[in-house]
Subunit: 273 residues, 2 copies
Amino acid sequence: MEKNVLLTIAYDGSGFSGWQRQKGLRTAQGEIERVLSLLCNQEISVDGTSRTDAGVHALDQHASFKGDFSIPVENIPRAANDLLAAGLYTEMEKGYKGKSADIRILEAKEVPMDFHARFNSKGKMYRYLIDTSEECDLFSRNTAYNLGQALDIEAMNEACKYIIGTHDFKAFEAAGSTPRESTVRTIYGLRVFPLGNSGLIAVEVKGDGFLYNMVRIMVGTLVDVGLGKRSAEELPDILESLDRTKAGPTAPAEGLYLAKVYYEEEDLKTWKE
Amino acid sequence: MEKNVLLTIAYDGSGFSGWQRQKGLRTAQGEIERVLSLLCNQEISVDGTSRTDAGVHALDQHASFKGDFSIPVENIPRAANDLLAAGLYTEMEKGYKGKSADIRILEAKEVPMDFHARFNSKGKMYRYLIDTSEECDLFSRNTAYNLGQALDIEAMNEACKYIIGTHDFKAFEAAGSTPRESTVRTIYGLRVFPLGNSGLIAVEVKGDGFLYNMVRIMVGTLVDVGLGKRSAEELPDILESLDRTKAGPTAPAEGLYLAKVYYEEEDLKTWKE
């Protein structure tokens, strides 16, 4: 009998040409579909919640797929992860495992047939990491925006207050994006804070939906504020302009993490993390 | 007038085919020589202290080179690092810097003409990181050995006691290594400890010299002890055997860091780090 399965997936985006399947490129969706097709003995195609770009990471991506297969749903994560890791092992004497996979299925569960990973989601949280230490950590190149300059976090949080709420975010959509029905979105939370004394600064944003590159343009604009290139009070004008050129630059992909997908509206509206 | 310069260099080994210059491959030595040759307007060749293998990291590599050039020695790090980072920038609007280089010159200083980065060094310290958490950190794949199993640190430290001291370490030399004058080395310190609650375990070893793959074979053997596959008390027999097959497997490259190069004998004999 056909089942509908919801997967929770994590990946280090640095090794992928983004989420979406593309012929001849290593993508997260492509990898997941490859191993599920092997395990389910049929061609499987999955619907992801977020189409993350090349270099963007995911801690809590979701994807659903349907199929009539015999492998117990609860066995899918372990079996899939073994396949995902195979081929990444380093050459070692006596067969020690060398590398763990850069993409993993964290959970698989059966859901009602009408459930869809993307259409049923109520919103998402993204986290963005910025390395502000003068000499950026040698090993943070693929996991944080290597800014290498100090930021005024207080000023950035001031700017956040103008972004939170329901607005037309057209100024924060990549130029040349496919036109959408509406560019109005609701941002429920947006905050900037340091991660200990590491020099890493996190930006976290929760919303019911995001336009193409919206988080990265938001972060680029907040960084401008943090560097003193713009004042927090410019934000209302930028929003009202509906003009991409008025907002800041698009912050690079490597700092961005899809951190949480919400299927309950209440979870979206409060910070519990 | 000709000068002799000592460099301190750090690199993330995951992007390099090791230290040593090799035609057609990206190596740390090759990158350093490429940018120094540009800056000094002449072909520069550097002598490194340690020939790290592919995938091995360096926090404190040293290298010396001679030349008659006009750039002030103190300007070399900044100028070289700008060249090393160039080409790694991500495509961004408005020209933000995206990536910092995966190899950096930390310091350059003039030294007497008869000083040599390798021949004058009294010893080195290596650090080895092991991710013992059941699900290894998604982002530690290139920076730690993804073991994914708990280790008995106490037993490993017991085994360390047998290794510390002056021994013939032939059992801990890669099979088929070019024969050396002597395989006797002195290990001044060897210790195993957890890094907070991260699941990461560090092995640190200080010695006057290391045979080929000696640290990685030592770690592989200590891991065997930590997993209960061997007892600490087997170490004397392994050492005395002078037989590579009696020691444990070679732990993978990605966990290994050249952590310190010592030019003073006293620094080698105590733990100050």
